[in-house]
């Protein structure tokens, strides 16, 4: 069904000189969409043409609207010869198709040419009138929102998470079509850009269709990649997580009562898995080359690495397809009679938890005692949010029952802090529940009974997930209560031989390849006792005709709260909702437990440590691991090390700070062709992976940490080498046991000098560990000296009583502790539940080991004031300032020594990465204290002897003083913020609508937003108001500027007068008109993170997904390869910013550079580069402004914020 696309070409500026004779240009513009082209008049002899064209209207299918970009070509009119193209602008109009995103695209776009780069700018206005399409068989998916962000976007609430969506599209690469090279490279590059733009539009549309089919309205964690397969074609593929999102804007309004989305999740929710413990684990398998045509070769193998990799498959299918929750429950209740039921004092908190779940349902259900008892622990974590007892926060939960009870005292007003908006509704009856719950107690029993329960729970959620082909989630952070347990990293790789894609319409081979890998991942996850994979991603590395497909994720157990099968059953929910008070009244007797059962739903496992508990069976572990009791709750087993691909959960209990940990590896390989090459590669892969893991493990221990988050292992193939780079953020998870040290052992103890050598090394390593403990503050004594309050927590733990005043003692204590820490086993002092740990032993009996140790010690520490991580959240840093610098750095290193050993290669590669990091630290030194977040390394082997490393990250400053003084407090605050965020978000738009009601337009907007809870059709007034808002704020800005100019001139004048020796003279003062002539280029921030500290994202404007090719035939003249790439990356940034600004945004979040393929031919003085970037365009406002001037209409405050920044 149709839509009307309208475009208007307003003006151009800074055009290049196209006519040498006059030094001017006769420019005109072609506007093309689909097969329709319009032209503007020629604006003669100007470098700043004002076309001010009419509105060009395209009447098109919405299918086309989604697929096609609007193409704008600026040309120079030539009377005699052919018109010269100046450059092009592609505008993706997808953001205009969703009612919640942008409403108009208007602004200056850089005019881009693949050879010359940016050549001037053009001002364009684009609008879309879309008619509603009710056709059931439609091919379009307009209105489905796409987010690169791998968490629930900040101003939305997940009503439901539907699951994995994937799609791929293949085509022939125009670059390779014209073998005879009739076309110029420029023509084929432009064709490529156009084609890829088209393909990604099509891909998005198809994914959107799948989402609609599933009943969702958005894709979160959308990850789109290009595989340039060379002669065999071009593959564009994407994965994402389909969700039903609800805009948090107006839930305050009575509408929320009607809105079914607000009601709690359905029944499965409550019976969701609770006490399922967990552990680390990382499995990976490789299937070796399978010639796509003939699958003769298909050996598969797995690797097992100490504690990490898992070999073999253990499918532990629980009872077939899981009976419906209710029955299970009942049955279970009977089966577990021996469980002590209530015995503790009543806790008001219970009501609180309860309120955060759905009403009624739970009562009718029974609970096991384990539920009851567990329900206490989560409470403590939440209590900590109260500012009154901030320091207790993370520590109180681990303390056994007595303390837990004590901590349950805070008043029930905490209710308001519980996590989701659902709460609001439940509050009304929470008091009744309070009463109902008062008879209930908690048992002190340990979590042994959790075993059978675990199984049960798993069944239940599994039923929800098992129906899915792939229970995968591309998300890396989750709404509170969604992630229950984490098993460990699962990954799979497969080496394939590419061959020509014969039929672009049937991309079956590629589909089948990925299917295969996903199946493998799924089975790995199962073996870890998990039913889902989170933080899932896929990637490829291609060299000639060999391709490695990789997929990895984290096996996890999820709460089914956000996952339901089928569409929402509204009636059902509503009816359920109606009777809450009744239920609580009538079912009082049994309700005690009922409510506690419902409590247990998520909070069974305390949020701070629950996710660490092993999900698999302790007796039947999928790989060798040392289990201990959780150091927080002491009830469940945790592994000694945990690797994950996800972000650190906000609620996780972490000691100290985190840091970036990288394992780097380079392996030579014989040059080979085709199948032989594929075999060679797949033979090397397992070793590569094994060593990467060993390195990671060693480096982790060296930093005294016990968990990795955001693990990303990248393997790149070149003609004669393989590169492996694993990056992750190491942290010390409080629930997990403290890692032992590293011990070095030699095999031949006879030689004295050798022993001395060993002991030297041992000493070095011990020193490094001690230093790192200090640096990352994972050393408890260090904490004490800094923060006596923190000391108290641990102290309490030791003494097992709350001691009134902790202040007098700490000094002594800390000294004591320090001496312990030197012997590096203070853990045994603290740890009551498990015995001594074996130190990690490294045997240096061969060169490999020496090399390992060497690489361990060569990692330079980050300079003072710097921290680094590759996740979104850096534990231990909470008070970010708004200073922010996103950057991309690319390095290419040439190995001139042809005959390099593995060792030599390793060193080169290692140095390359280390030096790059050092350079970054130096570059950003002015931002200290700061943290490099989301450090994303990409390695490639573009040519025989070249190694390319590209990094994109953001440097964020933080306030050091605060960190030291009240780091804990602010930590609480941020936590609280994170949890109460939803409420805040509810408030803001409300105020906004109230305030702006004076303006009829914006009030119309407000109204439409209020009613927007119902999936509203786009009201035209919405566009209008935001547009006028923007205009008015622009005027505001001008005024502001004028003001400052005036002030500036006054100052300078007076100084002039003083200087003038002729006071009587007619001193002609200079009117200071240093206006930056129309300098109204809005500042657009970019960040790879999903948020900008100190700000609130108030609107998502749509996804940015751009692909550019740049080529040059005058490489030297452009400053060589570095000059060429430098300007290209700057141009890419500029184009991204321009598109965001045109959408009305002031920032890009979740920005990433997916692809950076650089090729050069210095002999011909040529180079070429392809870059693919993506992100989410947003509007943010500063929190301080929100607080200070809540009545500001939104865009005005946006403007001030954007003009106010500068760093």
């Amino acid at each position: 069904m149709p839509g009307k696309l309208k475009a208007k070409i307003v003006a151009g500026r800074h055009l290049p000189v196209m006519d040498r004779a006059s030094d001017l240009t006769d420019a005109f513009v072609e506007v093309k969409f689909g097969n329709t082209t319009f032209k503007t008049d020629v604006y003669p002899k100007s470098l700043n043409p004002q076309w001010n064209s009419e509105w060009f209207k395209f009447e098109v299918d919405d299918e086309d609207l989604q697929d096609e970009p609007l193409q704008i070509t600026v040309l120079d009119h030539d009377t005699y010869s052919a018109n010269d193209a100046i450059g092009k602008v592609y505008i993706d109009i997808d953001p205009l198709l969703s009612s919640e995103a942008a409403t108009v695209i208007s602004g200056w776009f850089p005019i881009y040419d693949t050879i010359h780069g940016i050549r001037g700018e053009i001002n364009v206005l684009v609008k879309v009138d879309l008619f509603n399409d009710l056709n059931r068989f439609r091919q379009s998916s307009c209105g489905v929102k796409f987010f690169c962000t791998t968490s629930i976007p900040r101003c939305y609430r997940a009503v439901m998470v539907h699951g994995f969506v994937e799609e791929l599209v293949v085509n022939e690469d125009p670059e390779y079509q014209w073998i005879d090279r009739i076309r110029t490279p420029r023509a084929s590059n432009e064709a490529r850009q156009r084609l890829i733009s088209l393909m990604s539009g099509e891909l998005q549309r198809k994914i959107g269709l799948k989402v609609l089919e599933m009943g969702g309205n958005a894709v979160v964690g959308y990850l789109q990649c290009f595989d340039l397969e060379g002669e065999s074609g071009l593959v564009v593929r994407a994965i994402g997580t389909a969700c039903t999102l609800d805009k948090i804007s107006n839930t305050y309004a009575p509408a929320s009562a009607i809105n079914p989305c607000n009601s709690s999740p359905s029944k499965d929710t409550k019976d969701s898995p609770q006490a399922v413990p967990s552990a680390l684990g990382c499995r990976s398998t490789h299937s070796s080359p399978v010639h796509s045509a003939s699958s003769r070769l298909s050996q598969g193998f797995s690797v097992s690495v100490p504690t990490l990799l898992f070999a073999g498959m253990k499918h532990r299918h629980r009872s077939s397809e899981g009976p419906r929750a209710r029955q299970c429950r009942a049955g279970f209740g009977e089966e577990a009679p021996g469980v002590p039921l209530s015995s503790g004092p009543p806790t008001p908190l219970r009501a609180q938890t309860f309120s955060s779940f759905s009403p009624s349902k739970s009562y009718s259900r029974q609970s096991s005692s384990s539920d009851t008892e567990l329900s206490l622990t989560p409470k403590t974590a939440r209590i900590c949010l109260s500012p009154s007892s901030p320091t207790l926060q993370s520590k109180s939960s681990p303390i056994p029952t007595t303390k837990a009870l004590r901590s349950t005292t805070p008043p029930p007003l905490h209710v308001s802090q519980s996590d989701t908006a659902m709460l609001r509704k439940s509050v009304s009856f929470s008091e009744d529940l309070l009463l109902a719950a008062s008879g209930m107690g908690s048992g002190g029993s340990a979590g042994k009974e959790a075993g059978p329960l675990k199984a049960l729970l798993r069944q239940q959620t599994q039923s929800a997930l098992e129906q899915r082909e792939f229970p995968f989630f591309t998300l890396t952070s989750f709404p509170a209560g969604f992630l229950l347990h984490v098993g460990g990293v699962v990954s799979a790789r497969s080496v394939k031989l590419l061959d020509r894609i014969h039929n672009p319409d049937e991309p079956e081979t590629r589909d089948a390849w990925w299917e295969e890998i996903r199946q493998e991942i799924k089975s790995h996850a199962k073996a870890l006792g998990c039913h889902a994979v989170v933080g899932y991603s896929e990637s490829t590395s291609i060299c000639e005709e060999v391709c490695i497909l990789s997929a990895s994720g984290t096996a996890a157990v999820l709460s089914s709260r956000f996952m339901q099968d089928g569409a929402l059953d509204m009636d059902h929910r509503l009816s359920r909702q109606q009777a809450p008070v009744f239920t609580s009244g009538t079912e009082k007797g049994e309700g005690d437990m009922g409510s506690s059962a419902s409590l247990g739903f998520e909070d069974l496992a305390p949020p701070g440590c629950g996710f660490c508990h092993i999900p698999y069976d302790e007796l039947n572990m999928p790989f060798p691991a040392q289990l201990t009791y959780c150091h927080c709750c002491r009830r469940f087993k945790v592994p000694d090390v945990l690797f994950t691909t996800i972000d650190l959960p906000t609620e996780a209990n972490v000691t100290g700070k985190g840091c970036l940990i990288q394992a780097r590896l380079c392996r030579t390989k014989k040059k080979a062709q085709g199948e032989g090459n594929a075999t060679a590669i797949s033979n090397l892969l397992p070793f590569l992976e094994y060593e990467l893991h060993t390195q990671l493990m060693n480096k982790l221990k060296l930093r005294s940490m016990n968990a990795l988050f955001g693990l990303r292992i990248q393997i790149s193939i070149g003609e004669n080498m393989l590169l492996g780079l694993a990056s992750a953020t190491g942290v010390y998870l409080t629930p997990l046991p403290s890692p032992g040290g590293i011990q070095i052992a030699g095999k031949t103890p006879s030689d004295i000098t050798y022993e001395q050598h060993i002991s030297n090394m041992q000493k070095k390593i011990n020193d490094t560990i001690a230093k790192n403990k200090e640096l990352y503050e994972v050393n408890p004594p260090k904490l004490f000296t800094l923060d006596p309050e923190a000391f108290r927590c641990i102290n309490t733990e030791l003494v097992e009583e709350v001691i009134g005043s902790p202040i007098p003692e700490p000094r002594q204590r800390s000294r004591l502790f320090r001496s312990h820490s030197e012997s590096s086993d203070e853990v045994s002092e603290l740890d009551l539940s498990h015995g001594k740990k074996d130190a990690f032993v490294l045997e240096i009996d061969d060169t490999d080991a020496v090399e390992d140790i060497h690489s361990l010690l060569t990692d330079a520490p980050t300079p003072p004031g710097f921290y680094s991580c590759n996740t979104e959240i850096m534990p231990g840093i909470y008070n970010w300032t708004s200073a922010l610098q996103m950057f991309t750095s690319v390095r290419v290193f040439r190995l001139s020594n042809v005959n390099l050993t593995n060792q030599g290669l390793n060193k080169v590669f290692n140095d390359l990465c280390e030096n790059l990091l050092k350079s970054l630290y130096f570059k950003l030194r002015s931002m200290v204290p700061c943290c490099l977040c989301h450090l994303n390394f990409t390695v490639a082997v573009p040519e025989d002897e070249l190694i390319q490393v590209a990094v994109t990250a953001v440097a964020m400053s933080f306030d050091k003083e605060q960190t030291l003084e009240n780091g804990r407090q602010s930590c609480d605050k941020t936590l609280m913020k994170a949890i109460t965020e939803n409420e805040e978000q509810l408030q803001f738009p409300l105020e906004l609508t109230a305030e702006s009601s004076s303006n009829p337009l914006s009030s119309a907007k407000g109204l439409s937003e209020v009613s927007g809870a119902l999936p509203s059709a786009r009201a035209p007034s919405v566009d209008y108001s935001s547009f006028t808002d923007r205009c008015s704020s622009w005027i505001e800005q001008l005024r502001l500027k004028a003001h400052t100019i005036r002030r500036g001139s006054i100052k300078t004048m007076s100084s002039l007068e003083k200087a003038s020796p002729l006071p009587e003279g007619r001193s002609r003062s200079l009117r200071s008109n240093r206006s930056y002539a129309g300098g109204s280029v809005a500042v657009v921030k970019m960040t790879p993170l999903s948020f900008i500290p100190g700000t609130k994202i108030i609107k998502y404007l749509g996804i940015i997904n751009m692909f550019f090719i740049r080529e040059t035939t005058s490489l030297r003249e452009e400053g060589g390869v570095s000059g060429f790439l430098h300007s290209f990356i700057a141009e890419v940034f500029a184009m991204v910013r321009a598109h965001v600004a045109a959408l009305g945004g002031n920032a890009v979040v979740s920005y990433s550079m997916k692809e950076c393929v650089f090729m050069e031919n210095p002999n011909k003085n040529q180079a070429q580069c392809l870059i693919n970037v993506s992100g989410d365009a947003v509007i943010f406002v500063r929190e301080s402004e929100l607080e200070a001037t809540p009545p500001q209409p939104q865009s005005a405050s946006t403007q001030t914020s954007s003009s106010g920044e500068g760093t």
């Binding site: 610098q885 290193f893 570059k923 020796p1061 200071s1072 500068g1206």
Partner: protein
């Protein structure tokens, strides 16, 4: 084993002011790295030469890419390629257009042509300023000159408007443009002791009082040229020396005012006629372009040097010139008060500025 490619691009363009200065001063990357190492400004962070080299290269590239924009500073504000905070933009522009007074002194009054540009290496070796930097400064002069030359309105303001410079810098440029346009002689040996600042001050005086724009209300004035009419009218001042009565009267008035107030009274009294004649002669000759060019050399040779040889102090000179100017106005037969004061106001302040060693 070499680094083939090494780039760093920030969303907000990072600009290191120190490196920018090194770049402006025309140092090569290698020299700049050496200087940064020696400066030890990076003391707190341990860095290797390698890191420094990479950073310097990167900065230099950025500056090179910005240079195109700096040629037309107003573009810097609304270009999209680099996101540069406003205060950094201002800094980039200001520093780029700043010039060495030593250099400006050499070029002052010369024609801004290719010929002069060829002599830049001489200037470079004479002043010790890197040739690259000389070229940049020279090109800046030329660029500003070209843009401002034909514009109407106040000179300094035009410079400021088009190049977004600070008030002081814009005034300096106005001086350079003014000197280049009128081609004042500044290179003579006798003028060597004068600094750029001295000349800039004089230029400012001339621009403020002797140009067309000085009288006309900025409507369609040109600040670059001296007002022809005024110069012509200066001939009338001759009467002060040609009319003997007037000369004597003038002298006695001045003497009566200064008696006992200046140390060099006797020398002044003896020399009064010569001094007065010198000043009036300079005024009356200004209709000739050649003599306009020689204005400063004439002032030095005819007036300043005699005074200096008589060991006048600056205070003596001030008193003398003040009363010399004011008493003439009280002469009954003298009818050119306006012209006289316009002339003497400038000449007095110029002489006072130039009267030093």
């Amino acid at each position: 084993m070499t680094m083939e490619l090494d780039v760093f691009v920030g969303n907000t363009t990072i600009i290191d002011e120190e490196v920018y200065q090194l770049w402006l001063d025309g140092f090569s990357v290698a020299d700049a790295v050496k200087m940064r190492l020696e400066n030890g400004a990076l003391g707190e962070c341990e860095v290797s030469g390698e890191v420094l080299h990479s950073d310097t290269m990167d900065q230099y590239r950025t500056f090179q890419m910005c240079e195109r924009l700096l040629h037309c500073p107003s573009k810097l504000a609304n270009q999209l390629l680099f996101q540069i905070p406003a205060h950094h933009q201002a800094m980039l522009i200001e520093r780029y257009y700043e010039f060495d007074h030593m250099f400006a002194r050499e070029v002052l009054g010369k024609k801004l042509s290719k010929g002069t540009k060829k002599d830049l290496d001489d200037i470079s070796s004479k002043t010790g300023i890197a040739l690259k930097s000389c070229r940049r400064q020279f090109d800046n002069f030329k660029r500003v000159f070209k843009v401002v030359e034909e514009l109407k309105g106040p000179l300094a303001e035009n410079v400021q408007h088009h190049f977004l410079l600070s008030d002081l810098l814009a005034k300096d440029y106005a001086a350079v443009v003014f000197f280049a346009n009128s081609r004042f002689e500044t290179g003579k040996k006798k003028l060597q002791y004068l600094s750029f600042q001295d000349f800039a001050f004089c230029a400012c005086q001339l621009i403020s009082y002797w140009t067309v724009g000085a009288v006309d209300n900025m409507m369609d004035d040109m600040d670059v040229d001296l007002e022809k009419e005024f110069l012509h009218d200066l001939k009338d001042l001759k009467v002060l020396v040609n009319d003997k009565d007037m000369l004597d009267q003038h002298k006695s008035l001045v003497c009566s005012q200064l008696r006992g107030r200046i140390r060099v009274f006797t020398e002044m009294e003896a020399n009064f006629k010569n001094l007065s004649r010198a000043l009036i002669n300079i005024a009356s000759k200004l209709t000739n372009t050649k003599d306009v060019r020689d204005l400063f050399i004439d002032l030095v040779e005819k007036f300043i040097e005699p005074c200096r040889s008589d060991k006048w102090t600056a205070g003596d000179l001030t008193l003398f010139l003040t009363h010399y100017t004011s008493t003439a106005s009280t002469l009954e037969t003298f009818r050119y008060q306006v012209i006289w004061e316009r002339y003497m106001g400038v000449v007095k302040s110029c002489i006072l500025k130039m009267y030093h060693d």
